[in-house]
């Protein structure tokens, strides 16, 4: 039954139906509504015997999750941005230990400058941590992905991060079909751990591993990620058979047949991009979209296949590697044959800057005219940048960058 629900509420209700045994989190916008809702459900007994632990930091939140998961409990947490960075040592550790924790990442920019709005810098900062990273396009998909996430995590002994755009999804109210408890129960069996802290069968977990075995242990973790490339689509298909919904999977191709120009992107911006593509298709242009739903493991073969035949590929991404360029784009380039399409990266939506349909159409136009550079920043105010560069050149003590820029923007020297 479709209901008007806030994205966070839809996620919380879905996580609840996954029967978590330990939920532990630390508040940070825009993740708060999810854990508040779950906290209330534990408090009123609806999730019994689930434990909800209010901790003093994200580092503790992930660490409690590690302990709970190692003791055999189905464990859930959620964070964003600074919170993810604050727990990063434990994020790597959970994956290294092979603990199937599920975490919602309400994607948000990373400071400084501090910024609570959406982009993908946080997810990209932990892309090598060994977590499966799934990106939701809509609130429906965000909710559904959590059921699949527990299934994948527990089947593979790998933690899964469900990435959903902060505010754009977490705080948006839209129609969501909440999954039935009975469907979840048939899809998600009780958690059967591969390794567990049990006094009746004591094992040591977390030993020092030296050069004699470290590479093999890490390679096994890589293989489990590659296994996920097989499992993610089959789990999504099974889910679709039960619910009729095409949530999850590796890729979301859209109008790719005969497409000469393909935009690759992740998350909620795909909706806007599809609208733009629809408009350009009306105008007779051969354009399409490739949504990347599974960023880690990265579906190299499937991406290569999907981009086969494209002449121009434009990666629109909400993060970048300073001094280098696109992050997703680098992976897409790896998937493209050497003699493959022209590849351009458009960094967009940083710190919550809107990406409109007009913006995307503009990108497609520039691409068609051959004026889209290999790396560009959407709607960058060159004037503001030039002013700050001039200040820096003029004086050594030019002051704090961000505050200078803010002042320029506020006094109208900026965006017109």
């Amino acid at each position: 039954m479709l209901q008007q629900l806030e994205g966070s509420r839809a996620v919380a209700e879905t996580v609840a139906r996954c029967r978590p045994e330990v939920v532990c989190a630390y508040p940070i916008s825009p993740q708060t509504h999810i854990i508040e809702a779950l906290g209330a459900m534990v408090k009123d007994g609806r999730l019994a015997p689930c434990e909800f632990i209010n901790v003093e930091s994200e580092y503790a939140a992930m660490s409690v999750s590690i302990g709970a998961s190692a003791a055999g409990a189905r464990t859930y947490t959620a964070t964003a941005s600074q919170g993810l960075l604050f727990m990063i040592e434990a994020v790597y550790n959970a994956a290294g230990l092979g603990l199937p924790v599920v975490m919602t990442l309400a994607n948000r920019a990373i400071g400084a400058p501090i910024n609570i709005w959406n982009d993908h810098s946080d997810a990209m900062a932990v892309r090598d941590a060994g977590w499966i990273q799934l990106f939701a396009e809509t609130n429906q998909e965000a909710a559904d992905l959590h059921v699949q996430a527990f299934r994948l995590a527990e089947a593979l002994s790998v933690p899964v991060m469900v990435c959903m755009d902060g505010f754009i999804l977490t705080h948006a109210v839209e129609a969501v079909d909440l999954i039935d408890q009975a469907v979840v129960d048939s899809f998600l069996p009780p958690y059967e751990p591969r390794q567990v802290l049990d006094p009746d069968d004591p094992v040591s977990i977390g030993a020092m591993v030296g050069p004699e075995a470290f590479e093999e242990v890490r390679y096994l973790a890589h293989l489990r990620q590659l296994d996920a490339l097989e499992l993610i689509p089959s789990v999504a298909e099974e889910f679709a058979a039960l619910t009729g919904r095409a949530s999850g999977g590796l890729l979301h191709p859209y109008r790719l047949e005969d497409a000469e120009t393909v935009i690759v992107a992740m998350g909620s911006v795909l909706g806007t991009i599809k609208d733009a593509v629809d408009a350009r298709r009306e105008a007779g242009e051969r354009v399409g979209v490739l949504g990347v739903a599974a960023f880690r493991p990265f579906p190299i073969a499937a991406v290569a296949d999907a981009l086969h035949g494209a002449r121009r590929v434009i990666v629109v991404e909400k993060a970048f590697s300073l001094g280098m360029g696109g992050v997703l784009a680098t992976d897409v380039a790896t998937a493209s044959p050497a003699s493959g399409p022209d590849l351009a990266t458009v960094v967009a939506g940083l710190g919550g800057r809107p990406i409109t349909r007009r913006d995307v159409e503009g990108v497609l136009e520039r691409s068609a005219r051959g004026t889209l550079p290999r790396l560009s920043f959407l709607n960058l105010d060159e004037d503001v940048v030039a002013r700050e560069r001039a200040r820096m050149a003029a004086s050594r003590r030019s002051g704090p960058f961000a505050e200078n820029v803010l002042r320029d923007v506020a006094t109208g020297g900026a965006r017109r």
């Binding site: 045994e21 330990v22 532990c24 015997p49 689930c50 434990e51 632990i53 209010n54 901790v55 003093e56 930091s57 580092y59 503790a60 939140a61 660490s63 409690v64 999750s65 590690i66 302990g67 709970a68 998961s69 190692a70 003791a71 055999g72 409990a73 464990t75 040592e89 434990a90 550790n93 230990l97 802290l197 049990d198 006094p199 069968d201 004591p202 094992v203 040591s204 977990i205 977390g206 030993a207 020092m208 591993v209 075995a213």
Partner: protein, 332 residues
């Protein structure tokens, strides 16, 4: 003539022979039923106080819980020397995650056990002084504040030994470490305010806080068992001399632990719900010098003309402990 029972105490140590004790008072180690939680095969240095303390503490915890125990370990000597795989020395369920998060991981294990209806399984978290008073302090304070059902044990060897003997917030003033060299006008570690973890734990009003040393292993065992009679957060701070880091003879570990207590430099007490309920009074008081001299980390206090001024300041710290906890021997 009436018969009087004669107790034979070991000369110097006052330790009573195990055979003279009633069954209930005998050490857990005397029983063939002991777990050997930390078994052979570990790689601790000869005379390692931490290995000794951990073995006694965990075997006592195993007895107290009827074997229903999970241990969570922070990074540090204990973790590294106990799991030179494939030869883990642990015969209990054991998890190591990170250096600073053992308290939170222990909380997670306890939460999982509760959710699974396994309240009978108890959890011990353990770390060195670095993992407790420094990098783990935030998560430990969180555990205390929530009163999570975990016994947390700090094995205090007064420095970061695993990484080569650097200073921690538990390193005593003037002690030489690799990051507080015996150089300059104020050689060794600074006289700071200290970070007295047992008292910080008491400030959280948790059910049980105790200190112990490896010089009195019966006392250590008894405190572990006492701790296990409570639910909620409990904290045990055990002084464990480190021959390598302290520059002491391997054979002197127990003697140094005893001198630390007998000089008042390390106060041995227990507290319930924030109130001191018992102290281990000094039997035969010694000056701190007797404790400091056998340790090379304090050698600069006695070389050449020595630094009687600094020794006096250390003595003042011991005196303050004796005053605070009423540790003075009966006859004084």
């Amino acid at each position: 003539m009436t018969e009087t029972r004669v107790h034979f105490y070991q000369v110097g140590s006052f330790a009573v022979g195990n055979r003279l004790l009633s069954d209930a008072d005998r050490t857990v180690q005397a029983s063939p039923e002991r777990t050997n939680s930390l078994d052979a095969g570990h790689r601790a240095c000869q005379g390692c106080g931490e290995a000794l303390g951990a073995r006694y503490a965990l075997d006592a915890a195993m007895r107290a819980t009827g074997g229903r125990l999970v241990a969570v370990n922070a990074t540090g000597c204990l973790e590294v020397f106990s799991t030179p795989f494939p030869e883990t020395s642990w015969r209990i369920a054991w998890l190591h995650s990170l250096f600073g998060n053992a308290p939170a991981v222990a909380t997670g294990v306890a939460a999982a056990m509760r959710a699974k209806g396994r309240d009978d399984v108890r959890v011990v978290g353990q770390a060195g002084d670095g993992g407790t008073v420094d990098i783990g302090f935030g998560t430990l304070s969180g555990l205390f504040e929530r009163n999570d059902d975990v016994l947390f044990i700090c094995y205090d060897n007064e420095g970061y030994m695993n990484t080569g003997v650097q200073r921690s917030a538990a390193t005593p003033p003037t002690a030489r470490t690799a990051t507080s060299e015996a150089l300059g006008a104020d050689p060794g570690n600074v006289f700071g305010q200290g970070k007295d973890l047992p008292r910080l734990a008491m400030a959280h009003d948790i059910p049980y806080v105790a200190t112990a040393t490896v010089a009195d292993l019966h006392d250590l065992e008894r405190k572990v068992e006492r701790a296990m009679t409570f639910r909620g957060a409990r904290y045990l701070h055990v002084l464990v001399p480190c021959p390598l880091g302290w520059g002491a003879a391997s054979a002197d570990t127990v003697r140094l632990a005893r001198l630390a207590a007998e000089s008042g430099f390390f106060p041995v007490f227990e507290a319930e719900h924030g109130v001191v309920t018992g102290v281990r009074r000094i039997r035969r008081r010694v000056g701190v010098e007797e404790y400091l001299r056998p340790q090379r980390r304090f050698a600069h206090l006695f070389a050449g003309e020595g630094r009687p001024d600094l020794v006096a300041r250390l003595q003042a710290l011991a005196d303050a402990n004796i005053q605070r906890y009423g540790l003075a021997p009966e006859e004084e």
